[in-house]
């Protein structure tokens, strides 16, 4: 039986930046996914990376940067090693109110229609899809570090 191995190129660490405003997220995600091409990720893994990063960016824009309306940038730094894909999202918005990343609790969906949750899924998805979630306030900046162990 012949086994075909897809040879992966090494991924050079890269950083992209995007304006901290809702309308910039799609482009930021597309740029990131495009730069991951050397890893030859499966469609499933690409979906996972895009979801986790989308949720992280949406949170920064809705909360940390709610008052700045796109006047500051968000930086996304990506590197890959034997453990997986490391994403660091940095912004100079307001700190997390609790000093740490919100928890992994899933909103309860076993409820009446009128009480069905319309939000609160973002952090749950981040925690579920990422192996490691670390938040740190350094100086005037928020640093969210996410590690995804991908099937590569």
């Amino acid at each position: 039986m012949e086994i075909t191995l897809t040879k992966r190129e090494r991924l050079h660490p890269f950083t992209i930046s995007l304006p901290g405003v809702e309308g910039a997220v799609r482009n930021g995600l597309a740029q990131t996914i495009e730069k991951l091409a050397p890893l030859k990720l499966s469609a499933d893994d690409k979906g996972t990376v895009e979801l986790v990063l989308a949720e992280a960016l949406n949170n920064v824009i809705e909360h940390a940067l709610a008052a700045t309306q796109g006047t500051t940038l968000i930086e996304v730094t990506v590197r890959h090693d034997e453990k997986g894909l490391h994403l660091t999202i940095t912004d100079e918005g307001v700190p997390m109110p609790t000093g740490q990343a919100p928890g992994a609790k899933a909103p309860d969906v076993d409820v009446d229609l009128a009480d069905m949750p319309e939000g609160g899924f973002g952090w749950f998805m981040i925690h579920t899809l990422a192996e490691e979630v670390q938040y740190e306030r350094i100086g005037d900046a928020n640093h969210l570090r996410l590690m995804l162990s991908l099937d590569v």
């Binding site: 809702e22 309308g23 895009e50 809705e62 069905m116 319309e118 749950f124 579920t128």
Partner: protein, 112 residues
């Protein structure tokens, strides 16, 4: 938000003619759904086969659309692409909506 509507016996089919339901369009999706399902059938089938990506805001908007139909009407889903399906499974929202592989399957279940 580009939504189109068609009729089958017993149900209204709303097709999302865009590839993403994300934070940028969640509000427009909610408003569009409210408008297009006004005075429609009791069962609304949301055809997501063109949608490649939803985030939690998009998911919330679909939940809002279901709630807006009220308790006497139903929103069911068809045509979930892999990443969309992943979001519904992770959040267990697949247990809240009726989910069908294809529009034809849903029509066979509810139609006529």
């Amino acid at each position: 938000m580009d939504l189109t509507s068609s009729k089958e016996a017993g149900l209204q089919i709303v097709t999302v003619q865009e590839t993403r339901i994300d934070a940028a369009v969640a509000l427009a999706f909610k408003d569009g759904m409210r408008e297009i399902t006004e005075d429609g059938d009791d069962i609304v089938l949301l055809d997501l086969n063109h949608v490649q990506f939803i985030d939690s805001s998009g998911l919330g908007a679909i939940v809002a659309a279901m709630k807006n139909l009220g308790k006497d009407r139903r929103l069911v889903l068809a045509g979930l692409t892999p990443t969309v399906d992943k979001v519904f499974r992770l959040t267990r929202m697949d247990s809240v909506f009726g989910v069908f592989s294809t529009v034809e399957d849903a029509v066979a279940e509810f139609g006529g």
